[in-house]
Structure formats: structure tokens, C-alpha cells
């Protein structure tokens, strides 16, 4: 099963490589990993997406918790939560394609954030599936480049993953 796990880490040099190293050394799957400092500059927050059966995911969480830099960990998949991923897509936009792409952008509530005579950059935020759907919807051959942030997530309700 797919799990999305949020981890609060000490914002120390090397914390990220400890996590990455853990996954490769123990042969765990890792689909994506995003990390950035939080409102508290001494902490980083990481979101990672992994897959595995219950036992494997349990081990992954224990091993992450065991890292000395890990302050807190929450498996978002265990409760109601919100997931968001950001994507920027550079598309070839010429003649009649320009209109078609603008329409698509509206339907997906995306934004065009860069325009040239021959191209657009479209920005889209949402659940990862929605991002996939947008890519599928762009007519064949128009995509020049795709960049995705990987999912981040937060639990619903007032409880927060903080100190």
C-alpha cells in the first residue's frame, strides 16, 4: 500500500542524506521525497511517499523514528489528510494549440505563468492524480518539459505535527 509520511527533522547538515541513505541501505521503496525548513528555522519538514506491505511500512516508520535527527513522525495515510503536489509544465503552444491549452488550463484550474510566441509554462497544484490527468489531457507531442515537486501533505483538523 501507498503511504505518505510526514517527518519533522532537526535542520542539520546531513539530515536529508541520513533519510535517503536509510532507504537505499535497507532496500525500501521511495516514490518521492520533499523537504524544506518550517516556520521554525531549526526544523525541516519532510514528506515522503513510499509503498510496501504493513510490516515493511511499520519498519520504515520505526527506522525513521530511530534516526537521531528525527523529532516527530506522522503517517498521514492513517487519518484524514490533504495532499498537494505542485507541477510546472512547459508546452509547445502555437496557432490553434494555444486556445486548446488555455481551455485545458481553465478546466484544471491551472495557471499560465510564462508565455512566448511558441510556448506556455502552466502551473498546477493538486492531488498527484489530478496532475497525472492534466499531463494525459495535453495533446500528443506538445509537452516540452515537466517538473513536479512530489507530494506534500498535512492532516485535517486542528491537531498539528509540531513540537
Amino acid at each position: 500500500m501507498r503511504h505518505i509520511i510526514a517527518v519533522l527533522l532537526e535542520n542539520e547538515a546531513g539530515a536529508l542524506s541520513r533519510v535517503a541513505g536509510l532507504f537505499s541501505a535497507r532496500g525500501y521503496n521511495i516514490e518521492s521525497l520533499t523537504v524544506a525548513p518550517t516556520d521554525d528555522p531549526t526544523l525541516s519538514r519532510m514528506t515522503l511517499v513510499t509503498t510496501g506491505n504493513d510490516e515493511v511500512v511499520e519498519q520504515i516508520k520505526k527506522q525513521l523514528n530511530k534516526l537521531i535527527d528525527t523529532v516527530k513522525l506522522l503517517d498521514l495515510s492513517e487519518g484524514p489528510h490533504i495532499e498537494r503536489e505542485m507541477m510546472m509544465v512547459k508546452v509547445r503552444a502555437e496557432r490553434q494549440d494555444r486556445e486548446e491549452l488555455k481551455r485545458l488550463t481553465e478546466i484544471f484550474r491551472a495557471k499560465i505563468i510564462d508565455v512566448t510566441d511558441t510556448s506556455y509554462v502552466v502551473e498546477l497544484t493538486g492531488a498527484s492524480k489530478k496532475l497525472d490527468a492534466f499531463i494525459d489531457a495535453v495533446p500528443e507531442g506538445l509537452i516540452i518539459e515537466v517538473v513536479r515537486s512530489g507530494p506534500t501533505g498535512i492532516a485535517r483538523g486542528e491537531k498539528g505535527l509540531s513540537l
Binding site: E10, A13, G14, Q63, K66, I68
Partner: protein
């Protein structure tokens, strides 16, 4: 502790921090990146430094010191090759959860990342084999980082911690006020102490209902100083107990309730008890593959209780019914109290039928060997060692058949006496580890049991032993082979002995003598005991006993890969016997 306000350089801080930490010995080897530290060491004079002859040995000696004493081992090595040489020793300590602080020199901070002379990414290289590591980039962080390193190494599940210190951070001309923090708190690191009482009650329920219970205990009992509590619990319950290689001596091995070691080369009775048990009480053991055999066949009838300080150890390899996270000593004390509150006070020996079954397995006499020939049997050599030393050795081991024979034939009655590399299985470990133990206990009898292949992996330490006049006794079971490898080749590769013959062995007597030690060569069984007595009578000499043993002897019993506990192979001297 030194008073606040003293101004010290980074190099002086390193030395003062070690003194304030109560460190007795530093095992090390100098080089460019640690020269400021060595100079501060020289000037300060208050810290004992043991100069090894290879950085691997620095780490093993610190590790042996830690295992013998329960204190933190400390080593100091230079950048680049100094650090890489130490890696095997660090990994050895990591696999067996040994507390150790390793200080490594690093190139000056402005040079980091430039492929400078003797630069390696020490933090990167050691990351997978340390509990934690640090790169100190500012002298202001040095004292607190060293305090953190000791704190992390010694608490929770212990392990090695590396502190990488760039040369400019130890600059003798930059002095800052020094305060050594007594207490350290880390919001991200809070190891558990006490076990959950609800879980402990569940464990007691299972234990009271058990018909065929067995304790399976490991290195965690030794690491967590839980021997007294465990022994009391074992006696209070009357249950049988078996131990892993790493837990030997936590409960006296001569205790009638002790079934011997379990696992690949464990006893028949211990492994059969594992197979038949209905309640397994695992304490500070990690269900290693050498112990479980084929997982599908592991303890098929058992409910499993697992006490461990590391949650990640629990249910890692085997599903557990009652997990209890906590320090062994504390959990076992609670468990004993709750058990005694509820156990009936009848004089009926508990689980008597179970003991009757175990007596049948014991009668197989699985460690029996044929000692009738003219050659010295390695088993006989270990039995003689036991006799000559009254079982009171600190015995360090290398890796191979000799290690297994020692585990089988030298029953330790105290923890911390058996010092060996179990998890990594590092040949070369024995001699330097014995040095650490001998330095810790100068008056104690310390020996190293080794093989003709293993001993050559850290043979340079004969010089260290000479320099510090360490009266270690080396017992080399010389079979002219990498015996453990030869055994596998005999059993699983139709006796194709590919590169397992240790050709061109040195004359160990002359070799020892050339380092200023006493060397002995012993070839006949009838000479062995007297020779050993003579060796151990030389209280202040290092004696190297080169004992020529039967080259064809194998370690039995054995659980072959892919088999369960009930499918043991016994030695050919049992061939008449049908087993389970």
C-alpha cells in the same frame, strides 16, 4: 569538571572534554589532521593514550574495552586513511551495539570538498555503520558535540558515534571559553527507560499459562546490565533458558536451567526447545538469521514476548505477540515483581513435564566429539583452557571455528567475559579486543582465542602488546585452514577447498619472539594442559600458544541454511542416532 571561563583551544577542548567525560584510555594513531590534538595530549599529560599499530585495531581495542567494562570506548585517528582503516572496527561495534566514540581528524574546513590531501567524506563513509555522526565546523560547537556523542553512544541501544573534526577547528591559537555541559537534552532523542506495565502484565499472563516456556536472551542483557534481574527471574520461574552468542554469561552457563547457546551452532536441546516452545520470552535479542534458521520454521507453536530497548528490533524479522519496549534491567525487575505477585507458591516444580522432555534432548549429548586420535582436538583445547583458568577468563575471540568451539566449550558464568564479533564476524578482532580488556583489568587473566587465518589480520598488534607490556595469552587453534570456510566447502561444495588453505604460515613461535614475547608450540594432547599451565603462570608475560589441532574437525551441531531448529545436523560421532 573544569570551572567555567577557562580559555582553551579546540585541541585542548578535545582533551579536556575526554578528561571531563571520565575517559581512561584513548586508543589512537596520529597523523596530519590530528596533530594539534596530539600536541595538546602531550602537553596536558593527564590522559592515557594507547598507540596501536593500525587504526582498525584502535577501534577494536576501544570496542573490547567497552565490552569488558560497560564504559564507552574511545579512539582517535587521523583523516583519510586513518578514518577508512577504522571503518571495519566501527562497523563491528555497530553491528553488536557497542558504545564507542570515534574522533577522526578532517582536513581544514576551507578545504573540505576539494579532494584535499588525505580528505575523505568520513561522515558519508561511516553513516551506514554508526548510531550517529557529526562534523564539527565551529570550535564553539566542539564541547557540546563531544558531550552529545557520549550521550548518544551510551544511552538507548548503544552504538558507535563518530565526531569528525577539521584541523582548523583544533587551531592552538584560537582559544574560547570552555564549559563542559553536564546534562544534555535533545528534543529529537529520548530513549525509553521503563516498559509499559500493561504489556508486562500481558507477558505475565502468557508466562503463567505456559506449558513449554523458554527464555531466549541476547546481547541486550549484557549491554543493559540486566544479568542479576534475568538470573533472578529465571530462577523464580523455573523456566529453561538459552542464549545467543552475544548473551553468553548473562546467566551463568553452568546453571542447570541453562540449555546452552541456540542457533546455527547451538545445542540440540536449546534448538529443540525453541521448536517446541509455546511461550518464547525474548530478552535483548534480535532474531538474527544465525539464530532463527529458516523463518517459516521458527518457533511454530509459540506466542512470542519480546523485550528490547529498540522498537525497530521488535517484529523486524519475526511477528511478536507481546512487544515490550524498555531497558532490560527495568523491564525484568517489573516483570519479576508482577510474576511473583501472581505465581502460585506450590512446591511442585513448574513445568515438570517440559523439563522431562528437555532431559531427553540433553541425553543426546550433542557436543560429544571423538577425542581418541593422536591429534589435539580443538574442543579438547578449549576444555583444557577452561580447566586451567577455572572459567575465569576474559576471553576475546577471532572469527571462525575456534570462536564456535569457545562458545560451546567455555561456559562463562559472568557477563562481559566473552568478547567476540557476532554481527559483523570480523576476523582480526580478537587480539586488539583482548588489549582493550587487559588494559581495563590489568590484574585479570585475559586471553585471545584465534585461528591461523584470523590472527594474521591484526598481527601487527604484537608490537602494541610489547610496548604496553600486556600479559595477554593467545591461544591459536592452528588447523592450517580457514576452518570455517573449509567446513562449508566440505559440506556444500563437495570438498573443493578453494583458497581456504592457509599456505605459508609463519613460525608463530619465532614471530612472537621477534616482538619480544614468549612463544610456544604444542602438538600433542598429553602436553597441552601442562603447557597451558606454564603459559598462564607467566603472569606478566605475553605468551603466544600455537596449538596444532586436527585440521579436519568440524563444528557441530549445525543447522544448515534453509533448515529449521528441529532439523539439526549432529557430528558424525552421532551417526548411529535417528533424530527428530
Amino acid at each position: 569538571m573544569s570551572e567555567a571561563g577557562v580559555e582553551l583551544s579546540g585541541a585542548e577542548i578535545v582533551i579536556q572534554a575526554l578528561i571531563d567525560e571520565g575517559v581512561e584510555y584513548v586508543f589512537g594513531y596520529p597523523g596530519g589532521a590530528v596533530l594539534h590534538i596530539y600536541d595538546a595530549l602531550f602537553k596536558r599529560g593527564a590522559l592515557k593514550h594507547i598507540l596501536v599499530r593500525h587504526e582498525q585495531a584502535a577501534a577494536h581495542a576501544a570496542d573490547g574495552y567497552a565490552r569488558a567494562t560497560g564504559k564507552c570506548g574511545v579512539c582517535l585517528v587521523t583523516s583519510g586513511p586513518g578514518a577508512t582503516n577504522a571503518v571495519t572496527g566501527i562497523a563491528t561495534a555497530y553491528m553488536d551495539s557497542i558504545p564507542m566514540v570515534v574522533l577522526t581528524g578532517q582536513v581544514p574546513t576551507p578545504f573540505i570538498g576539494s579532494d584535499a590531501f588525505q580528505e575523505v567524506d568520513t561522515v558519508g563513509i561511516t553513516r551506514p555503520c554508526v548510531k550517529h555522526n557529526f562534523l564539527v565546523k565551529d570550535v564553539k560547537d566542539l564541547a557540546v558535540t563531544i558531550r552529545k556523542a557520549f550521550f548518544i553512544a551510551m544511552t538507548g541501544r548503544p552504538g558507535p558515534v563518530v565526531v569528525d573534526i577539521p584541523k582548523d577547528v583544533t587551531d592552538p591559537n584560537i582559544k574560547i571559553p570552555y564549559v563542559y555541559p553536564r546534562e544534555i537534552r535533545m528534543r529529537s532523542y529520548n530513549p525509553v527507560e521503563k516498559g509499559h506495565l500493561g504489556q508486562i502484565k500481558k507477558a505475565v499472563d502468557l508466562m503463567l499459562a505456559a506449558k513449554r516456556p523458554v527464555f531466549y536472551t541476547g546481547g541486550g542483557v549484557v549491554l543493559g546490565e540486566g544479568s542479576a534481574q534475568l538470573t533472578e527471574l529465571v530462577h523464580a520461574t523455573g523456566f529453561p533458558i538459552t542464549s545467543t552468542l552475544m548473551g553468553l554469561g548473562a546467566v551463568p552457563m553452568t546453571d542447570p536451567q541453562f540449555l546452552g547457546m541456540l542457533g546455527m551452532h547451538g545445542t540440540y536441546e536449546a534448538n529443540m526447545a525453541m521448536h517446541e516452545t509455546d511461550v518464547l520470552i525474548a530478552v535483548g535479542a534480535r532474531f538474527d538469521d544465525r539464530v532463527t534458521g529458516k523463518i517459516e520454521h521458527f518457533c511454530p507453536h509459540a506466542q512470542i514476548i519480546h523485550i528490547d530497548v529498540d522498537p525497530a528490533s521488535i517484529a523486524k524479522n519475526v511477528k511478536v505477540d507481546v512487544p515490550i519496549v524498555g531497558q532490560v534491567a527495568s523491564v525484568l525487575a517489573d516483570l519479576l515483581r508482577l510474576y511473583q505477585e501472581r505465581a502460585s507458591k506450590s512446591s511442585e516444580p513448574p513445568v515438570a513435564q517440559w523439563w522431562a522432555k528437555i532431559a531427553e534432548w540433553r541425553a543426546v549429548n550433542c557436543l560429544k566429539y571423538d577425542g581418541s586420535g593422536p591429534a589435539i582436538k580443538p574442543q579438547y583445547a578449549v576444555e583444557t583452557l577452561y580447566k586451567v583458568t577455572n572459567g575465569e577468563l576474559y576471553l576475546a575471540s577471532d572469527v571462525g571455528q575456534h570462536q564456535m568451539f569457545a562458545a560451546q566449550f567455555y561456559p562463562f558464568d559472568k557477563p562481559r567475559r566473552w568478547i567476540n564479533s557476532g554481527g559483523l564476524g570480523t576476523m582480526g578482532y580478537g587480539l586488539p579486543a583482548a588489549m582493550g580488556a587487559q588494559l581495563a583489568f590489568p590484574e585479570a587473566q585475559v586471553a585471545c582465542i584465534t585461528g591461523d587465518a584470523s590472527i594474521l589480520m591484526c598481527i601487527q598488534e604484537l608490537a602494541t602488546c610489547q610496548q604496553y607490556q600486556l600479559p595477554i595469552k593467545v591461544l591459536l587453534l592452528n588447523n592450517g585452514y580457514m576452518g570455517m570456510v573449509r567446513q562449508w566447502q566440505e559440506l556444500f561444495y563437495e570438498s573443493r577447498y578453494s583458497h581456504s588453505y592457509v599456505d605459508a604460515l609463519p613460525d608463530f613461535v619465532k614471530l612472537s619472539e621477534s616482538f619480544g614475547h614468549v612463544g610456544m608450540r604444542i602438538e600433542r594432547p598429553e602436553d597441552l594442559e601442562d603447557a597451558m599451565r606454564e603459559a598462564f603462570a607467566m603472569k606478566d608475560r605475553f605468551v603466544f600458544m600455537d596449538v596444532i589441532v586436527d585440521p579436519t574437525e568440524n563444528v557441530y551441531p549445525m543447522i544448515v541454511a534453509g533448515k529449521g531448529h528441529h532439523e539439526m545436523q549432529l557430528s558424525p560421532s552421532h551417526s548411529d542416532r535417528e533424530l527428530a
